[in-house]
């Protein structure tokens, strides 16, 4: 099996975020591997490990695919140190201001030429929070889309995958033939910490930085020029007014009810 895992470098979710010129100001905050994507890397590793493994002597391979500024190599490197085999990072000045449509276009272009059986994604980037990129990638490639997986069951001989997911309709089982795009929720596994050996090995693993032209796209397809939606203005919201805080001395439940009545909530 050839598996691709899409990972994104995001601003640390603890950092305070601000806007600069209608987009997130990324320069001012620390960047990390989107934590939800670690589950996707882990799941890819578990899938191949259940069927003979990857790396030297293994029958399978895992490639990391990322789009972002050059420093996105850090996030990709972390995924390599967990055990993935290689990485492609599409980085180009023209990508600044890309929306989900453009992001999925770039990722799909890289994936389309890679001969992959499966693509794994996280369910959400902690900065964009749209949860649409995996479904968009599948739609662009014309592949099956299996999202929000809480468990995967891959059968390489039959070239099929079945996922289980827990949504508002209930517990669903969904199946598809390769090639397929799968997004995973954080319940699915516990991502491993990179070992020292893994970190050292990752330094020697192939990492390709590619520009837009090399994936067959041009500047007008992506970035602010190719974005089909535009921010017109953005402003800081007034801070939540400081609330009332009471210490329970036996009557706080009643005070709470009074508050709800004042607010016309009951």
């Amino acid at each position: 099996m050839k598996i691709a895992v899409c990972v994104k470098q995001v601003p640390d979710s603890w950092a305070e975020k601000t806007m600069a010129g209608g987009v997130l100001d990324r320069a001012g905050v620390d960047a990390v591997l989107n934590d939800l994507d670690e589950y996707a890397v882990e799941e890819a590793l578990r899938i191949v490990e259940a069927h003979g493994g990857n790396g030297e002597g293994g029958a399978h391979s895992i490639a990391i695919v990322s789009m972002g500024p050059e420093r996105a190599t850090d996030a990709a490197r972390k995924a390599l140190s967990m055990g993935a085999d290689s990485a492609v990072i599409v980085s180009d000045l023209a990508l600044a201001g890309s929306d989900a449509l453009a992001t999925s276009k770039v990722l799909a272009a890289v994936i389309a030429s890679g001969g992959f059986d499966l693509v794994l994604c996280g369910t959400e980037s902690t900065d964009a929070r749209m949860s649409v990129v995996p479904a968009m990638i599948a739609q662009r490639l014309g592949w099956a889309s299996l999202t929000f997986a809480g468990a995967t069951d891959v059968n390489p001989d039959e070239k099929s995958v079945t996922i289980t997911r827990d949504t508002e309709v209930g517990l669903e089982k969904i199946t598809a033939k390769f090639p397929a795009v799968i997004s995973v929720v954080e319940k699915i596994n516990e991502p491993r910490y990179p070992s020292f050996k893994g970190i050292m090995a990752a330094k020697k693993k192939p990492m390709q930085l590619r520009d837009l032209a090399s994936v067959g796209l041009s500047a007008s397809d992506v970035g602010s020029d190719g974005a089909w939606s535009a921010v017109e203005d953005a402003y800081a919201r007034p801070l939540r007014s400081v609330g009332i805080k009471v210490v329970d001395e036996g009557n706080a439940g009643n005070e709470l009810v009074n508050f709800l009545v004042e607010r016309k909530l009951i």
Partner: protein, 318 residues
């Protein structure tokens, strides 16, 4: 007047209240066409419920593929409709399902998409609240159909009686949308409480419940609220994952959110901090959840909640 498509949402054979919110937004921007995508034999009954609007037209598409091929089948049909009818906008509720459908329709029709909007103006400018509630953003789709998903509970439906024309469309789902097949669904046990994402009020419990959700449920029931949970509570198996609120659970923004025994980790706040009024009950005065509370009680939820439930009951009966 331009036409606005609204994807009708339904649960258990009923049109959802969220649909009426979408219709309210849609009517600001054009004449509303409500799209009922249903399994065979169920479309007419659903369409007949659409009598409050303003809804100008109802279009029914029936296919067994909607339940078998979920998002892809739905997006495929919506894509075909948008391409042939050129509506100015397509409005969908901001659920996980709704956002994915919207994303796929955006790809199919090469249109712009805005997700998680909390308001929509007559000129289709959308309002979003981002970065954990700290920033308001106005944006607009600049190409194709404006595909916009709207958060439930963001507008009070403005209703007027309507007698829409009803049309049955013969569109069929393309084979290319039949790749991922649903094998089985074990329905979620609902227990009679309102749906989490659409609820007006939510009472949530966390690790502080120690697994005993009875005071949380009791308070929810006197308020007619939904019950939610933090990840610590769903991880421990105390409550189903489908009721988890937060970054990897549901994003909610009810009129009232009551957090009980929840510390307020950033991942939890990401799912609830745009709630209109936030009430907190927590033993630890330093818990970060107090930072966003409109009314915070430093106390034991096992003492405060029963008293509050009793208080609400007393008020209702008087």
């Amino acid at each position: 007047m331009s036409e606005v498509f609204v994807l009708v949402q339904f649960a258990d054979g009923k049109v959802s209240s969220t649909t009426l919110e979408l219709v309210t937004y849609g009517a600001r921007a054009g004449s509303v066409t409500a799209l009922v995508l249903a399994t065979p034999g169920t479309g007419a009954a659903l369409a007949s419920q659409l009598t409050t609007g303003p809804i100008t037209k109802v279009v029914i598409v029936e296919s067994a593929d909607f339940s078998t091929f979920g998002v892809s089948a739905t997006a495929d049909v919506l894509g075909q409709m948008v391409l042939s009818q050129n509506p100015s906008a397509l409005l969908i509720s901001s659920s996980a399902f709704g956002k994915e459908v919207a994303g796929c329709v955006a790809v199919i029709t090469d249109s712009g998409i805005i997700t998680d909007a909390v308001d929509l103006a007559s000129d289709l400018q959308a309002t979003q609240i981002v970065f954990g509630g700290s920033t308001t953003v106005h944006s607009r789709v600049s190409h194709g159909c404006s595909i916009i998903t709207l958060r439930p509970n963001s507008v009070t439906p403005e209703l007027s009686p309507s007698t829409p024309s009803v049309e049955i469309s013969q569109i069929v789902v393309n084979e290319s949308a039949k790749l991922a097949q649903t094998l089985s669904i074990e329905p979620a046990v609902k227990g009679g409480r309102p749906d989490l994402t659409a609820a007006n009020a939510i009472v949530s419990g966390g690790r502080g419940t120690g697994g005993d959700f009875s005071p949380v449920e009791e308070f929810a029931d006197v308020l007619g609220a939904a019950v939610g949970a933090s990840r610590a509570a769903t991880d421990a198996g105390w409550y189903p994952h489908s009721l988890q609120v937060g970054q990897t659970g549901k994003t909610v923004s009810p009129q009232l959110y009551v957090a009980c025994g929840i510390s307020g980790a950033i991942q939890h706040r990401a799912g609830m901090q745009t709630s209109k009024t936030i009430v907190v009950i927590n033993k630890d005065p330093e818990a970060p959840i107090f930072d966003i509370a409109d009314f915070g009680v430093v106390g034991d939820l096992f003492a405060v909640l029963p008293q509050a439930s009793q208080g609400v009951r007393a008020r209702k009966s008087s």
